[in-house]
Amino acid sequence: MNNQRRTVLKSGSGAALLGILASAGIITPGMALAEWNKAAFDAKSMADTLKALGAGTPTESKDVQVTGPDIAENGAVVPVGVTSTLPNVTMMAILIEKNPNALAASFTLPEGTEANVQTRVKMGQTSNVYALVKSGDKFFMATKEIKVTLGGCGG
């Protein structure tokens, strides 16, 4: 465990060098696959967000899952993921109903990348969290409630 950590950190220092190369313009950052979807990230409600993503009314599916624990000890960091067993998944997104803007993150999956992505999000309060998946040209969705709990000392 200890050793493994060290190795990782060593390779991290190597990465620092690459960062310098990047900032010097020797290596250019990879091009994004699409322009950042401002309309979708600015949308407030679930419905408006889905519309901006072109997802219309997604079908609820058992083949889509919101992964991660049901309880967050702190809303600043909530581990959430999306997985799906549907074929030809090209896009996935995480939506949090009660956040000021529902859309937290979206992912574009080229062929060969598994429909299984995890990240960490902020949640202002206990809320339903939605996983949106595009399979072929259809959209599917799953949901679960994640409870955000308070700490004891009063912040």
Partner: protein, 271 residues
């Protein structure tokens, strides 16, 4: 009489059912909480600070354009392996009991030529303002990973500091009548969902001390032990003691002495 008995039996059964349900709910909460903590542990952002700390350790900085690599934390100049685990300790050259942070600041002043104000200006980070001390302490702390905490406090000055730390630990005051002991003087308690170590026992103090410095997800940064203890006092609704003040070092000495023998596992990650 018979009716009474039946009633009681039914009552007991109902109570058992209710308790059973409550227990099941508590067990589920505990389960999900464990999953939450596990998910955070795999990918601790403290590692980002550790890398930055390593860079700062080696970088020539300050008016004297020197690195910190000759800093002596008690095991000899530049010897970092296990250094954190044996602090605080008495240093002959300053005639004081010092913790990792006061010693680090001492080195930034003596080796690199920074003033105290320059060295401690950003002793903790704010959003948008990084703290070199947080990064350096994360790096130095990790060099004691796997090492046993060893603060026997045998030097008379260390023994005195530990005793004074004990005094502060039990000292009640403020609008909530708090002392450290209120929350951290018993086994098996929790505040909301957070387990509270009994810091008067080796097991409890060890469990608490071994993971610091630790990434606080609520704060989005690593907290050093100074920050941790100063914030405990803030949470007790007291004024904040000064950074590196003897009160904080005394508490650290008391806690590290109690925790001695516990294997360090830092940086940790907490709510």
């Amino acid at each position: 009489m018979r009716l009474n008995l039946t009633c009681r039996l039914v009552g007991a059964a109902l109570l058992a059912l209710a308790t059973g349900h409550a227990l099941a709910q508590d067990a589920k909460v505990a389960d999900e909480l464990a999953k939450y903590r596990e998910a955070l542990a795999d990918g601790n952002p403290a590692d980002l600070l550790e890398v930055r700390g390593e860079g700062l350790w080696q970088e020539k900085r300050g008016p004297k354009n020197a690195s910190l690599e000759q800093c002596d934390f008690g095991l000899g100049p530049g010897k970092l392996e296990g250094a954190y685990a044996q602090l605080p300790r008495y240093f002959k050259d300053t005639g004081r009991v010092m913790d990792v942070e006061s010693r680090l600041v001492h080195c930034m002043m003596t080796l690199q030529g920074f003033t105290f104000e320059q060295a401690t200006k950003n002793w903790y980070s704010k959003p948008g303002t990084e703290s070199d001390i947080e990064a350096l302490v994360t790096f130095i702390g990790a060099k004691s990973n796997g090492v046993k905490i060893n603060v026997p406090a045998t030097h008379p000055e260390e023994a005195k500091m530990a005793k004074m730390g004990e005094y502060i630990f039990y000292r009640r005051s403020g609008p909530q009548d708090f002392s450290c002991a209120i929350c951290h003087g018993q086994d098996g308690k929790r505040i909301r969902l957070q387990e509270l170590g009994n810091l008067t026992t080796q097991a409890g103090a060890g469990e608490a001390m071994k993971t610091w410095p630790s990434y606080r997800v609520s704060q989005g940064t690593v907290w050093t032990m100074q920050r941790r203890l100063i914030d405990c006092m803030r949470q007790a609704r007291w004024p904040e003691p000064k950074y590196l003040s003897d009160s904080v070092i005394a508490l650290e000495t008391f806690l590290q002495k109690t925790a001695s023998g516990t294997v360090m596992a830092t940086p940790g990650i907490k709510r």
